[in-house]
Symmetry: C2
């Protein structure tokens, strides 16, 4: 009896361990079959590529507040309606309305070596314009805010600050290099303005050396708003070289961008009701808005069509998820995150129980895994499904973070993940005129959608 008392907790533990270790095994044969069917459907009959063709080539770039953004909302609604998902609706949200204006002009002036040279720039999103005549000033090149601070008012006042910190090419994950460099774009203008600069020129956010300027969001943090542009990396190298020869050269640029009053826009939501636990909500999404310079094919048309595919594939295969699954096309990720913020607000207001969210916003490239943010128990559960996903090239679960649009959900404690496609090519296209449909590969795109559907299926079956 005494012995039994001692052994009992031990056997219970052993029994639990046994049960625990058997649970995923028990689930595997049927689940692996379902996941195989999901990938087969995506690779044989995927609709993502054709939807992306339409969204990219027929609607095009769709910056928040633009007619194209409104067209994209209508498109997303109609596509999901046409599939007959249980519910399709929009969520109203006010978004910033920044417009680029005329094609930007920029020129290196009076350099001792090359005289005047036209260079390729584009206004940063959110920037004020230069006024009709543009601005011309001497240039001071820096690679960090610390360097800028050391130069101080004396070195900066009346000048254009040229932020020329390059991507670190040795970062295997290019998103790490982006994270290290992008502060220049986001905060450079305001940092420069602190010391009396009259403009900011920021090296484009890419590993490549080429002629395409990359736009992207920036924010003013102080009272003084100076105009800011991105310069293509080829011309950043040129400007830096010419500055070394001749510090007295001037730089001219003209932008007519401006911020107009906020306009009404929408998230688009398609929903398949859960069969056994409809009150538990799983979100899968991408963002519908894009920058205006390209067609937003990788960023983030890919994530939108992949998210729609999750529900479409379930429906086509007759997979009725146990929990409610929502495909959400978020508005305004690029310059405000208003759509993602609104979605989380409504989740709280409507007392919804969100158990998981997944985003795809790293391009339509070959999927390699998922990154994660949230409580470790949820991750541990997901990692037990790894062997079900590895046959499809999904090996990497080491990354951290979900996507931007589901960040507000993550702040509420919802475990979030993001699809991790191969990152090597993303910043060739990101926020620039080459982010176009022809640079998306059909199999890579559809595989990404299938990977998302497989993960969502597992979460829907077993919860978190």
């Amino acid at each position: 009896m005494n012995l039994l008392r001692k052994l009992l907790p031990c056997s219970l533990l052993l029994f639990s361990l046994l049960l625990f270790s058997l649970l995923p095994l028990r689930a595997q044969p049927a689940d692996s079959l379902t996941i195989r069917r999901i990938f087969d459907e995506a690779l044989r009959n995927g609709h993502g590529y054709r939807h992306l063709d339409y969204l990219s080539n027929r609607i095009g770039g769709r910056l928040s507040g633009s007619p194209q953004a409104a067209a994209a909302v209508e498109w997303g609604y109609q596509v999901m309606k046409s599939y007959g998902f249980d519910t399709v609706y929009t969520q109203e949200v006010m978004v910033p309305h920044w417009v680029r204006g005329d094609q930007e002009v920029a020129r290196i002036l009076n350099s001792s070596k090359a005289g005047n040279v036209d260079v390729a720039v584009c206004a940063l999103g959110g920037s004020v314009g230069t006024g009709d005549k543009g601005i011309a000033a001497n240039v001071v090149e820096v690679r960090s805010f610390e360097e800028l601070a050391r130069l101080g008012k004396k070195g900066v006042e009346g000048k254009i600050v040229f932020f020329n910190r390059a991507f670190d090419p040795t970062r295997i994950n290019t998103f790490d290099a982006y994270g290290e460099a992008v502060t220049q774009r986001g905060a450079g203008a305001s940092e420069a303005a602190k010391y009396g600069a009259v403009g900011a020129v920021v090296r484009s956010m890419t590993t490549r050396i080429d002629g395409f300027p990359h736009t992207g969001g920036m924010r003013y943090q102080g009272p003084v708003r100076i105009p800011a542009v991105a310069i293509c990396t080829r011309d950043a190298e040129l400007l830096s070289g010419l500055l070394k020869e001749d510090g007295s050269l001037k730089f001219y640029f003209r932008t007519t961008c401006e911020t107009r009053p906020d306009v009404k826009s929408h998230n688009v939501v398609g929903e398949t009701k859960g069969s056994t636990t409809p009150g538990e909500i799983i979100t899968v999404g991408g963002h519908l808005d894009s920058w205006d310079t390209g067609h937003g094919a990788h960023d983030d048309g890919a994530g939108c069509v992949q998210s729609i595919e999750v529900l479409r594939i379930f429906k086509t295969l007759g997979i009725r998820p146990k929990r409610t699954v929502r495909a959400v096309l978020f508005m305004n990720e690029e310059n405000g995150l208003r759509g993602g913020t609104k979605y989380a607000e409504l989740a709280v207001r409507n007392r919804e129980k969100h158990i998981f969210a997944l985003e795809s916003d790293r391009g339509g490239f070959s999927p390699r895994g998922f990154s994660f943010e949230g409580n470790p128990a949820a991750l541990a559960k997901i990692l037990r499904w790894k062997s079900l996903l590895e046959p499809y090239g999904l090996h990497d679960f080491s990354g951290q973070g979900g996507g931007a649009d589901i960040g507000p959900l993550a702040k509420l404690g919802v475990p979030v993940m993001e699809l991790v496609p191969d990152p090597q090519r993303y910043f060739d296209f990101h926020h620039t005129s080459t982010d176009r449909f022809e640079f998306v590969n059909q199999r890579e795109l559809e595989l990404g959608g299938a990977a998302m559907a497989a993960l969502i299926y597992l979460v829907s079956e077993y919860g978190l």
Copy 2:
């Protein structure tokens, strides 16, 4: 004493296990640093991309026996000489000399629905020509040799056989789909000739539906040699559709390709002598020849420049390999494998001790791992290094097989591996006019070279 006798083997085993498990740990810190330096060098200063530019755009397609193939030999020799590798030399080898002749012409004739339609074809490598006037005949479509056999002489004689088995799109690894479909290209003409066919038209080897015919090697197996062409997938679909409407349509094609007498060519070898065990040889290579329709950028200029990079990176970083490492640019992989065969022959004749060989011949895409062929103990050793390679996206060691050129070495018992890049895009370009430099991404290419250098470094340090 008795007890001790019993325990001793047990402790020895434990001790060995302990030692065994500690060994890789001991090696890790220094090795992981070296591997980091290899990747840094490749990503900061890699030479592969610029070499590939030259090989693709200045020399171009380099089919065995062509002037371009000779130029490529000279190029490879000079590049490796210029780096000052310990030894650079060529190995003479006689290679087949097949020439394409005039631009191919092909036409669907008198179809009830579309009349006459020009279609895109290219002669298969090794095929005889049609003669100056071309051939025209009725068409019979099949998807397998079994189907062909069932039709027999009665259904096939005097006709053109249209082999239209498509790639299976659900294969995650596109090379599996290739393996399943490529028998049509290699043996289709001879199989058709058995039943009296007058020509063979083979669906191009790709997952895409597009307008590019894909060439590739074929072999005659019987006495009767009938001409064979590849048809682009778009026109394969068209022809199949029109045949369903009208089985009496005819197909015309004209090719003037021919096989000329063998010509002298060369493998190119660059060698870095091992510092402690120079008698043990490690080979890393790709093939220098390519098809003539494109520029052989992915297939296999990529493998050549990556192999040269292995030695170049070692030299630049001052890494003196313990064992001898050879970069080998093999001639004639595409239509004869004479270079790889010759290399193994010479290894035997010269009594060389080859301990390992690695090939890259799956395109210059983002590396995901390595495949393996050979004795399991060697693989077990390599798998112990996995944690050193995983930080660089090298997760997948599940594949089987080395490369074609090192196949003859594998037959001698040498453990072989092949770089496994992401396979999704390879057959978009393989053997067709779009296999060009502009479709190779710099980071992906250089990462592949670094992955190879890292693996070769480990084998060179620890043997197999």
